[in-house]
């Protein structure tokens, strides 16, 4: 009886393909996924409006409205439009450098990324966040059902959170959940993304981010996004001397 050569070859081929494909499936390019997540969230250079809502355990709320512009990998300005007590405050970020301009003080003061200019669960790093791939490298990536699970490590000691655990929806390539940890391993906060919305210009991303923190039990902060648009600006806008004029950018 003639052996079933075709079947043996098919099995051998299948085994070989499996052997070849298995490492590919295991070695996900986490950094490439992270870069795609960044581009899904925002164009590299853009303007946008955000509303921050801090909610206390008794339901009381405090709201802030910001206008932001970002250029390239690491330049960003956020200008407070509301409430009046914060109006005119502006923060500038250039890479790891961050400054706060308070109109009464009359000059930008250097601040650190872990400080908070608004109180509540959000800190400066959440408000002035650059692309994740600029600040973090992916140490571990895995597929978990309909999601990617990424473990991120800060590229430098000046980044606000030492480690992030990010869950990314595979279909939309947008984050659904991020846990932020200090170098000590302490969970600082959890960010939850929801309400996928089409902002136009090819930008389809979550319009809401909710944050809570074990450091602020019962408190919650929400960030709502609006009018995200690509925008080109000269580098001179992202300087200390320009910061008092940030209102002219609108």
């Amino acid at each position: 009886m003639r052996p079933h050569v075709g079947g043996a070859w098919s099995r051998a081929l299948a085994v070989a393909m499996l052997a070849l494909s298995a490492p590919v499936a295991l070695a996900l390019d986490g950094d490439a996924i992270l870069r795609q997540v960044d581009r899904k969230l925002n164009p590299e250079s853009y303007e946008m409006y955000r509303k921050l809502i801090n909610i206390e355990p008794d339901g009381r709320k405090k709201e802030f409205v910001l206008f932001s512009v970002k250029k390239g990998r690491d330049a960003m300005i956020a200008l407070f439009l509301d409430p009046p007590s914060e109006k005119g405050r502006a923060t500038l970020r250039l890479g790891d450098n961050m400054w706060l301009y308070i109109p009464n003080v009359g000059k930008p003061l250097r601040i650190t990324s872990l400080q908070s200019v608004v109180g509540g669960v959000f800190n400066n790093a959440d408000i002035m966040n650059l692309d994740y791939s600029v600040e973090y490298r992916v140490e571990k990536a895995a597929e978990e059902g309909a999601a990617y699970s990424l473990e991120l490590k800060a590229r430098s000691g000046t980044v606000a959170y030492d480690r992030l655990k990010m869950r990314v929806d595979r279909a939309s390539l947008t984050p659904t959940l991020i846990e932020a940890y200090a170098a000590s391993g302490l969970l600082i906060k959890t960010l939850r993304f929801k309400d996928i919305k089409d902002f136009g210009n090819g930008i389809k991303r979550p319009a809401t981010m909710e944050t809570d923190s074990p450091l602020y039990k019962g408190y919650k902060s929400i960030m709502l996004y609006a009018n995200i648009k690509p925008r080109k600006l000269p580098d001179e806008v992202f300087t200390l001397d320009y910061l008092p004029r940030a209102g002219e950018l609108r």
């Binding site: 009046p84 109180g119 709502l224």
Partner: protein
């Protein structure tokens, strides 16, 4: 009927969901840019002073007045800010009015802090004309390089200050590489009998320049004020982040021909003129538990030495004990430009600790500020409670405790304690 009971929670849930949806709505149209912006704050302040009748500065202020050992003051203040934009030009106005009532009666004052026209023909260039508040230097509580501004009150460093009439321009260029930004500011602060008379005497242009660099993640300023109503002075400052929670900064200034009135043991007032170097080194540190510490060491080379200050204070005590009002009047005039200013001596340490949201109380910030005179060991300690939980309302309670030996800086201040309750509403 039973169905209605079952339906009620569902309706409530839907209503709650609809309500929640409304709460999270964001209508950007409300925040459209307008050509005219208006804002400001109204403030009410209640203060209680406990005075030290044995202190030199009490005796200097009260030798010709009805003595009091403690008193209350009520203060109402209003700050109005307006901005009008038209094309490349804008006009900014900041006005401040204050009404105060204490044991001396009531008094009021209004000041124009800022009123200037700005032309911005491009993102890289601006030109200013009018009264503008400049703020040079990186220090939080002190600014040795603050050549073109009024002195900061270290007890309230973030308070708005009145500007000077200036004419000037600013150019900015950005680059790739280690030198990221270069900005150049040139201005004149003209003085005459009618303009900027409190900047200094005489008809002078008072030119000043500032070169700002962002080099390898360090802010650097080189600053010069030319000879004029004030003596020539130059300096530099820097600041830099060392990590996500540490910032360091510093300033150095060389001041030529600085004068200060000194008193000898016989009560003769003479003026000392000398060049002086002043500097500041500071850091801001944030702990994982949201405690912010600001620490600054300030060396004021133009200030009184410990011996000079002791002699000044002792002469006041002697004149007061002898009832020599003529000498006390001369000493008061001599003390006005230097000894009565905040931090008139040479070596100071400033420490401010503020804890954000302790005990899970959001928008609540207790703080402690210590200003210590390292020459004589005297100090001011000010605990503070700040609450900003109600939108646009800021409530602050603080107490100052001044202590030190006789003939020391804080030991000879007019008051030993000051309690201050301030409510400020922004609009």
């Amino acid at each position: 009927m039973r169905g209605a009971w079952l339906l009620a929670p569902c309706l409530l849930a839907i209503a709650a969901a609809a309500f929640a949806q409304d709460d999270y709505s964001f209508d950007v149209g409300q925040f459209e840019k307008k050509p005219f912006e208006f804002g400001g704050y109204a403030e009410l302040r209640a203060e209680h002073f406990r005075l030290d009748p044995d202190a030199a500065l009490y005796q200097l202020n009260f030798f010709d007045r009805e003595p009091v050992t403690e008193y209350n003051a009520g203060i109402g203040a209003l700050q109005l800010e307006g901005l009008y934009r038209q094309g490349i030009s804008s006009f900014r106005f900041v006005g401040y009015g204050v009404y105060a009532d204490d044991y001396r009666g009531s008094d009021s004052a209004t000041r124009v802090y800022e009123a200037h026209l700005t032309l911005a023909p491009s993102d890289r260039a601006t030109f200013d004309l009018g009264k503008k508040t400049l703020s040079w230097g990186k220090g939080y509580a002190f600014n040795p390089v603050g050549f073109v501004q009024r002195m900061k009150d270290p007890n309230d460093p973030e308070l708005a200050r009145e500007g000077f009439v200036i004419a000037g321009g600013n150019l900015i260029r950005s680059f790739d590489g280690p030198l990221k930004t270069v900005a150049f500011t040139a201005l004149v602060v003209p003085t005459s009998d009618r303009v900027n008379e409190d900047f200094g005497p005489g008809d002078n242009a008072n030119p000043a320049v500032k070169l700002t660099l962002l080099y390898r993640d360090t802010d650097i300023d080189l600053l010069v004020l030319g000879e004029g109503a004030r003596s020539a002075r130059y300096g530099f400052d820097f600041s830099r982040n060392l990590g996500s929670n540490v910032e360091i900064h510093g300033e150095w200034a060389h001041l030529t021909e600085i004068t200060r009135p000194v008193v000898n043991a016989a009560g003769t007032v003479t003026t000392v003129t000398q060049s002086a170097n002043s500097y500041l080194l500071g850091a801001r540190y944030l702990t994982e538990t949201d405690l912010t510490a600001i620490l600054e060491y300030y060396y004021n080379g133009a200030g009184y030495s410990e011996d000079e200050a002791r002699t000044f204070f002792q002469t006041i005590h002697d004149a007061y004990a002898a009832g020599d009002t003529a000498l006390l009047e001369r000493l008061r005039a001599a003390a006005q430009p230097a000894l009565l200013r905040p931090n008139p001596m040479q070596r100071y340490l400033y420490l401010r600790l503020s804890q954000k949201d302790p005990f899970d109380i959001l928008y609540f910030t207790p703080a402690l500020t210590v200003i210590a005179n390292l020459d004589d060991g005297s100090r001011s300690v000010a605990p503070e409670l700040l609450y900003t939980g109600v939108t646009n309302l800021e409530l602050r309670l603080r107490v100052f405790f001044l202590s030190g030996n006789r003939l020391s800086d804080f030991g000879e201040k007019q008051n030993d304690q000051r309690l201050e309750l301030r409510g400020r509403y922004y609009f």
